[in-house]
């Protein structure tokens, strides 16, 4: 497994295949890759957003993400998991989070990627502050439930 907290913009479609290539045990063995990418939109709750600052708790963030992945690995048969999360100043259209799961079978990959994403949203110590086009800034108060087509 790999957990990366990054301060600069990253391209999930370069990071992901590079990681896949680097894990030699994957070759020929994975049949299913399930990937989620969260990207900053230019609007939220009816307001135009021109940027975001993402604060985190260094150390605890990595601990929590590793625990979440270990928990997923106990529930499903996974070959590899990669989580990348941005911190710092983020612009609209930039990826915030990448979760990628490799498995032999698609059921495991789908279930685990969603589990990791929901657990990350509720347990990993990140906090978002939005900068509004109309001026001003605000902390995002709560993550919504990903099972009800929100958030």
């Amino acid at each position: 497994m790999a957990v990366k907290i990054v301060e600069a913009a990253f391209d999930p479609w370069q990071v992901l295949p590079a990681h896949q290539q680097s894990v030699s045990a994957l070759a020929g063995k994975f049949g299913a890759t399930s990937v989620f990418v969260g990207t900053l939109r230019d609007f939220n709750e009816g307001d135009e957003v021109h940027g975001m600052h993402l604060e985190h708790y260094p150390g605890m963030t990595e601990n929590q993400l590793e625990k979440i992945i270990a928990n997923a690995q106990q529930q499903w048969r996974l070959l590899e998991v990669l989580v990348v999360h941005r911190v710092g100043a983020i612009l609209p259209n930039e990826p915030i989070v990448l979760v990628a799961v490799w498995s032999s079978h698609r059921g495991d990959a789908f279930d685990a990627s969603r589990f990791i994403m929901e657990a990350l949203k509720s347990q990993a110590p990140f906090w978002k502050k939005e900068y509004l086009l109309a001026g001003g800034e605000r902390w995002v108060l709560n993550n919504t439930d990903g099972y009800q087509a929100a958030g």
């Binding site: 985190h56 708790y57 605890m60 601990n63 110590p125 906090w127 978002k128």
Partner: protein, 77 residues
């Protein structure tokens, strides 16, 4: 014993500081750590707490050298 306290995000802004260092004599709970560090301010609703980077309940007992952290609901991802 000595306890380090960290605050994050909106809580840090509200308090106007990111850290405290407390010297205490008896074992106290995380709730009491908050009350000692912020006697003027009741516990915020939905407050989350961690000790040494693990989530804990507010009645968790802290020990010497522990790092206590208080923060609002997380909003990553």
């Amino acid at each position: 014993m000595t306890i380090t306290v960290h605050y994050f995000a909106s809580l840090k802004e509200t308090l106007g500081r990111s850290d405290d260092e407390l010297s205490i004599t008896d074992a106290i709970t995380v709730r009491q750590v908050w009350q000692l560090a912020n006697p003027e301010m009741p516990l915020p609703p939905n407050l989350l707490a961690a000790v040494n980077m693990e989530y804990v309940e507010l009645d968790f007992l802290v020990a010497d050298d522990d790092k206590v952290a208080f923060f609002p609901p997380v909003t990553g991802g």
